[in-house]
């Protein structure tokens, strides 16, 4: 199934998935952090109010836009390569880019335990592409 040209196209598609997914994750995590505990919001303003709070958040909408583009890149890649290559490869790279983005942009406390987990999962996911 894999030719050299197809290989290059697949990896470019995977790169697009990774960059767009990281941007989407960071925007959405920032939005949900801003909104706060979803159960508490729901208790305060009901399910409808809670959904409106999420949908009306500009960061959330930006995140969804990035995720939608990432999704179409995923469909494109899946049409040319096995899901067992595309999904793990894109995910492994996204773990690393997300850990950096969470630390520097979201200011999350990425301690040694989390770095270790991110690296474990990243190598593990990478191994799954063989």
């Amino acid at each position: 199934m894999m030719t050299h040209t197809n290989n290059f196209v697949v990896w470019m598609a995977i790169a697009a998935i990774v960059v767009l997914a990281t941007a989407g994750d960071v925007f959405m995590a920032a939005a949900m952090r801003q909104i706060g505990d979803f159960d508490a919001v729901r208790a305060r303003s009901g399910m409808k109010g809670a959904i409106l709070a999420v949908i009306g958040n500009p960061k959330f909408l930006l995140g969804v836009f990035c995720m939608a583009l990432s999704f179409f890149s995923l469909l494109f890649a899946l049409s040319r390569a096995d899901v067992s290559l595309v999904a793990p490869a894109a995910a492994a790279l996204t773990f690393v880019t997300n850990a950096f983005a969470a630390k520097w942009i979201l200011k999350e406390n990425v301690d040694r335990r989390r770095w270790f987990a991110a690296v474990c999962v990243c190598i593990g996911v990478f191994l799954m592409s063989f």
């Binding site: 899946l78 630390k103 996911v125």
Partner: protein, 149 residues
Amino acid sequence: MTFRRYMVLVAVMVTAAFGDTFLSAGMREVGPVSFHHLSTLFSALQVPWIVAGIVLLTIFFASYLAALSWADLTFVLPATSFSYVIIALLSQFWLHETITLARWAGILLITLGVGFVTRGPSYTETNVKIASLEHAAEADSSSAKERSA
């Protein structure tokens, strides 16, 4: 972390794995998409597997957002990465792709990472958050005083 919250994380894993696998089964029916006919991607939306995959991924999305509202991104992502193990098992037993020794090693490492991160703290408390909680606590106690007065 309560039991309910762990269940939300499990929902994230399962719906993500089945959603992606359904999409893959659907795109096999559609066949390779070329750069010159990207509109083929829209006709993919008529394939039942793709529709089922999208429904599952919608549930995934809602659970994922709920998890992000009470946990960090760097907690939720590794904690839910077990979905890649489920994808591997599904792709072997249902889509008939092969699980090599390297893949089993990968499965082991991911499971290790998941176990490791879920034993740690789940949320970074920010100053703003702590301040707003204190403010809420003050408001509570002052309204309690008003009631008792």
